[in-house]
């Protein structure tokens, strides 16, 4: 598997607190790489560094062999890297359809002047964006709610809206930060299947998740972080049996779904 | 006068107005910490302080040591009323809407002041009418000393209040995390009310102290309020040490610009410096560069 995303020697500290130290990881296309670890292990920090929200003190990140560290969020999106957020970030007062259409923002470079004057080309482009957004909504089973303001949907549906928005522009890599947190078992199951279907489209996924049964079910490879360091890496079966991982989890007081 | 005498003199007047800006800025911080709202009626608290002092002292002929606390108390009451009648019943919690509620309240208050006290400037006598003193080449009027002394006293009183009293601690807790404070049994509404009352008292103090120097009119607080806001931003919004530092820096900057460069550009210079500081340090001098969503 050739690496789609390559993280090398990422380090960052806040004040005196080291959040990530010399963290390296490779994530291939068409596969799910799970990033697990106790609370405060640096998982979300790692995602934030990769997606340009935080600036690491040291290290390199490349997408398809091209360095992407230091690029702004929208530039990353245009290069095919999108993400979802741990604390839901849907555009609550916009409709579900509009949320997904925002996900397609980078598809065009016609800006203010063209939009205000409705220059030729704006309309067909708008139609194309709308068509793709509908396609994505149908894929996620959200077509019936398309016209509703996103914040009026149930929590689980809002999670799917966020996922739909991230998938809309056909990214090559998606970073998912706890996509099933707060969902009930049935919803978790359904979302897990959706994630697998996204993988089938050839998209690489990096998944930060606490739900171990989901991680073990869908991941192709698992990286374990503890105290900002990578302590184990391998296929799910190997991670489940790793004594250090077990010690970390039990020592950290975290429940770990070791029962397969 | 040598150049150094001049500098000393401008420093004295700069520190005096700076102290007033600091008092106004502290009022802004108090209300901001409680509600995240910029209270644009803060300047009108200052006007009202001077006007009430005038009414008690000149109008009713009460002695100054009695008029002073009465004026401060009256404006504290007005501050509480602003919270009770305008902020609390507001249907929206959007900061932008709340800010404009204080602007509307300010327009209303100024209209009422004009109606009650008239448009013409009033003369408020200084707190003590003794002769000026000279020190290090600068001339101090007793009122300069009153301003500096009372400001320092007010700051110590605030420090004591916020660190030593239960109410003060509860107000700090509310500012840091209203939800957590409320879970711990703090009545958050009441703390917000106290913040407005305290901000009113600080504004009144500033008004009583400065209007004998500037002149007293129904709208004297407008520009003072803006300067106080600028001082709070300069120091780092919400930070008490920042408000004091911002006030003094702004006062000195204005006074030295007016004296040594040009008095017509003193306002412009103050705001240009403010903008430059913000561009370099988006969180103000003592502010953390914290992310705050509008």
């Amino acid at each position: 598997m050739a690496a789609l995303l390559s993280i090398q020697g990422l380090s960052i500290s806040f004040g005196g607190l080291t959040a990530l130290s010399d963290f390296s990881l490779e994530a291939p296309a068409g596969a799910i790489t799970a990033l697990i670890g106790p609370n405060g292990a640096g998982k979300t920090t790692a995602l934030n560094c990769v997606s340009g929200v935080l600036k690491p003190d040291a290290g390199a990140v490349s997408l398809d062999g091209r360095p992407v560290l230091g690029l702004a969020g929208h530039q990353l999106a245009r290069r095919g890297l999108t993400r979802t957020f741990q604390n839901l970030q849907v555009f609550g007062r916009m409709s579900v359809l509009e949320n997904v259409m925002v996900g397609l923002h980078g598809a065009s470079r016609r800006e203010f002047g063209a939009a205000m004057l409705r220059l030729p080309g704006v309309r067909p482009e708008e139609r194309a964006i709308g068509e793709r957004a509908w396609e994505v909504l149908e894929f996620f089973g959200l077509a019936a709610q398309a016209g509703q303001p996103a914040d009026q949907l149930p929590y689980g549906d809002q999670k799917r809206v966020e996922l739909a928005r991230a998938l809309a522009a056909r990214p090559r890599l998606m970073l998912l930060d706890e996509p099933v947190a707060g969902l009930n078992p049935a919803e978790t199951d359904a979302l897990g299947s959706l994630i697998v279907k996204i993988r089938e489209q050839g998209v690489g996924l990096v998944l930060v998740e606490h739900d171990m049964s989901l991680v073990m079910r869908v991941s192709d490879q698992v990286a374990v972080l503890s105290g900002g360091r990578l302590i184990a890496f391998g296929p799910p079966s190997q991670i489940q049996a790793d004594p250090e991982v077990i010690r970390t989890y039990l020592g950290g007081g975290e429940e770990f779904g070791l029962v397969a | 006068m040598t150049i150094w005498d001049q500098v000393a003199q401008y420093t004295v007047s700069g520190l005096t107005t700076g102290a007033i800006y600091a008092l106004v800025a502290l009022g802004f911080c108090l209300i901001y910490n409680a509600t995240h709202v910029v209270n644009f009626a803060q300047g009108d608290f200052l006007s009202l302080g001077g006007l009430m002092m005038y009414t008690f002292l000149v109008g009713a002929g009460l002695p100054a040591p009695l008029s002073f606390p009465l004026a401060v108390l009256a404006v504290a009451l007005a501050g509480g009323l602003l919270e009770r009648l305008c902020i609390r019943p507001a249907k929206s919690r959007q900061v932008m809407v709340l800010i404009f509620i204080t602007i509307a309240a300010s327009i209303l208050m100024r209209g009422a002041f004009k109606h009650l006290w008239g448009k013409e400037p009033l003369a408020l006598p200084p707190l003590s009418p003794e002769a000026p003193l000279r020190l290090l080449g600068a001339t101090f009027t007793p009122q300069n000393l009153w301003v500096l002394g009372m400001t320092i006293a007010a700051i110590f009183l605030l420090v004591w209040f916020f660190n030593r009293t239960l109410t003060g601690k509860a107000m700090r807790a509310t500012a840091l995390n209203p939800r957590a404070a409320s879970l711990m049994g703090v009545d958050v509404h009441r703390m917000t009310l106290y913040s407005f009352a305290l901000a009113g008292a600080l504004g009144a103090l500033a008004g009583v102290l400065i209007t004998p120097i500037t002149a007293l009119s129904y709208d004297v607080g407008v520009i003072m309020g803006l300067k106080g806001f600028a001082a709070a931003v300069l120091g780092g919004y919400g930070s008490f040490p920042g408000a004091i530092l911002g006030g003094l820096v702004l006062g000195l900057l204005e006074s030295l610009t007016a004296g040594l460069i040009s008095s017509v550009y003193k306002d412009a210079v103050a705001f240009v410096v403010l903008l430059l500081v913000l561009f370099v340090r988006p969180g103000g001098l003592l502010g953390l560069a914290r992310q705050e969503r509008a």
């Binding site: 993400r83 980078g106 939009a115 004057l117 | 249907k91 509307a104 931003v233 412009a268 705001f271 969180g283």
Partner: protein, 317 residues
């Protein structure tokens, strides 16, 4: 997207017709004058609403752009005899440039810091308008600004200016409508709701903040140029921070994030102070009181309130 867009166009057409017939009823030049000022305010507030209501950025400095448009047009035409129309265009370009220069560092600021920075900018411009009296005429103002001409006819009375002012106000609304119902408009609203998620979705948030700031400044500048040619005399007081506050108030009272709100807000609050002149002594108290009541009880603005009444589900504004 097309449906609300079409409704807008239909309402706009009806409005244009009503406005075209209005001068048949209103012959009093005083009323026409008020309507003209309303039109200019509609123009500024429409631009401001794009910035505040849609993109969620605060500005308490837009009277400065209004004033810069007026003074650039005024000085170049009155003092240097430049032709009004091209000068107006030049003024808009210069103001756009100034807005971009101010906007880049300023829009990195948030919340109260942004309020203060825009307020500070307005205060600086006010001081300059008074102090650079060789150019601006100082506190007493600049006079002798020629009226605009259209097809050889001078627009030097209230009625002829009425056509121009409202024509441009409606054009401004139409262009803003186009922007709002477009991919860019969605990007601006997304930026308002969650800058983080907007950026991750591909919206260049920093650039958009500056661009929408520039667009709103250009609206203000054009209105300012029109104002200068309409009155023929301008004074710095017209463009002080109180004007900025008034403009944002119109935006909020009308309805943030609604273009009709700009129209409502400007139409209601422009004549209100003049109406209150009849109770001269209590004018400010009443004006402040009315604003207070509107803001406390109808924070979603008049448009939001009307929509809330029409459909129980309401809009989330």
């Amino acid at each position: 997207m097309t449906r609300p867009g079409r409704t807008f166009a239909a309402v706009l057409a009806a409005l244009a017709l009503a406005l075209a017939l209005l001068p048949l009823l209103v012959r009093n030049p005083y009323y026409l004058n008020v309507l003209n000022v309303v039109a200019l305010n509609v123009l500024v507030v429409t631009g401001l609403n794009l910035l505040i209501g849609y993109a969620g950025q605060i500005s308490l400095g837009h009277a400065a752009f209004f004033g810069l448009g007026a003074y650039i047009s005024g000085i170049l035409t009155a003092t240097y005899g430049w032709p009004p129309w091209p000068t107006m265009l030049l003024a808009a370009c210069l103001v756009a440039l100034i807005a971009a220069m101010i906007g880049v560092p300023t829009l990195k600021l948030q919340g109260n810091y942004l309020v203060m920075a825009t307020l500070g900018f307005n205060l600086i411009v006010s001081v300059l308008l008074v102090q650079l009296d060789d150019f601006t005429g100082g506190p007493s103002g600049l006079s002798g600004i020629p009226p605009l001409t259209l097809f050889g006819a001078a627009l030097n009375n209230d009625l002829s200016f009425y056509w121009l002012a409202w024509g441009l106000a409606l054009l401004g609304l139409l262009l803003a409508r186009n922007l709002v119902h477009s991919r860019v408009g969605r990007g601006l609203r997304a930026l308002h709701e969650s800058p983080l998620a907007a950026a991750a979705s591909g919206v260049p948030i920093e650039a958009y903040k500056v661009k929408v700031f520039v667009v709103s400044a250009v609206y203000a500048s054009v209105a300012g140029s029109l104002y200068a040619h309409y009155y023929g005399i301008i004074t710095p007081k017209t463009f002080d921070i109180f004007k900025s506050v008034e403009l944002v108030t119109m935006c909020i009272v009308g309805g943030m994030g609604s273009l009709w709100g700009s129209l409502f807000g400007a139409s209601l609050l422009t004549p209100l102070p003049q109406l209150l002149e009849v109770v001269e002594e209590y004018k400010d108290i009443l004006f402040g009181g009315i604003l207070l009541v509107l803001l406390i009880f109808l924070p979603q603005g008049l448009v939001g309130w009307l929509e809330g009444r029409r459909s129980s589900s309401g809009r989330a504004f």
